[in-house]
């Protein structure tokens, strides 16, 4: 039974590794904390002893809870790393990336979370609402507000070129 669960989780991790990490990083603002949160989430599912009926939203919820705990433990304010890759900062699209990064930082936590879950995890508003425990409409409005703020970056980019 536990062997089956471990195998299910392994397959899930392989196919959703980046999504889970990006989501955790958007919550913790710290790569180490994000990794810890992902590991804690898997550990919690294992402790449960059996796979939940819907693994994906359940694991994302676990990541969120673990990230919140991590954030509290590490005093998140002390560090706020971007979800975007720093290596590419010195390359071509660095200006846009920095602008998006800045705008990302201005989003509220709910808006940022909704955008990350929708864009990088491909979740529907219903699924986002399930992860956050809010109605679909609330998740949709967080996302729209967040995207409208980020749109400023594209506008500036287009005006510059």
């Amino acid at each position: 039974m536990q062997t089956d669960l471990a195998e299910t989780l392994r397959m899930f991790y392989v196919s959703h590794r980046q999504e889970l990490f990006t989501y955790a990083l958007s919550l913790t603002g710290c790569p180490m904390g994000a990794e810890d949160a992902v590991q804690t989430a898997f550990s919690r599912v294992l402790q449960r002893g059996r796979a939940p009926s819907e693994l994906r939203p359940y694991l994302f919820r676990c990541v969120r809870n673990a990230a919140m705990d991590e954030g509290r433990a590490r005093q998140r304010a002390s560090r706020n790393d971007s979800i975007f890759n720093g290596v590419h900062a010195a390359q071509g699209d660095s200006r846009l990336r920095l602008e998006v990064e800045e705008l990302f930082a201005t989003l509220t936590a709910d808006e940022r979370e909704a955008v990350v879950l929708k864009v990088y995890s491909g979740m529907t508003f219903e699924e986002i609402g399930g992860v956050r425990g809010v109605p679909l409409q609330t998740a949709a409005s967080w996302y729209r507000r967040g995207m409208s703020k980020l749109r400023i970056a594209w506008t500036r980019e287009e005006n510059a070129t």
Binding site: M1, A6, T22, V38, Q39, V100
Partner: protein, 131 residues
């Protein structure tokens, strides 16, 4: 997917380190091994329980069989250690039990009930050879 989403997706994301893969791998491997061990232990319990049940069942059966066999009646334990050698079967005065007649050598104690002894006496002439 709208254009805004596509633009966001085009930006490279920070990647998790290989260490996270190793950590998750270790966690899942430990869980799988732990699960297999627990399954083995579980099976062990089942086998042990079965064996115990079988042993207990066998023990109960043996006791039942033993109890169903009539125990041999042993008379000599009644008074044998203190019995003096007697030869007179009608002398009840020295018997520790008024309802029993006891005679014979300590090695061959004979116990019977007085009534039955009286019947024997009335039925036949009692001499030493009858005793």
């Amino acid at each position: 997917m709208n254009d805004d989403e596509e633009k966001l997706r085009a930006l490279p994301l920070a990647k998790p380190r290989a260490e996270l893969d190793a950590r998750i791998d270790r966690l899942l491997a430990t869980a799988a091994v732990g699960g297999a061990k627990r399954q083995k232990v579980g099976l062990g319990y089942v086998f042990a329980a079965s064996a115990f049940s079988a042993a207990a069942g066998a023990a109960v059966a043996v006791v039942a069989m033993r109890d169903s066999v009539p125990k041999p009646i042993r008379y000599d334990y009644i008074e044998r250690p203190t019995l003096p050698a007697r030869t007179d079967p009608f002398d009840f005065s020295r018997s520790s039990s008024p309802n029993l007649a006891v005679w014979g050598s300590p090695e061959e104690v004979v116990v019977t009930y007085p009534n039955r002894l009286q019947e024997l006496v009335s039925e036949q002439t009692l001499d030493d050879s009858n005793i």
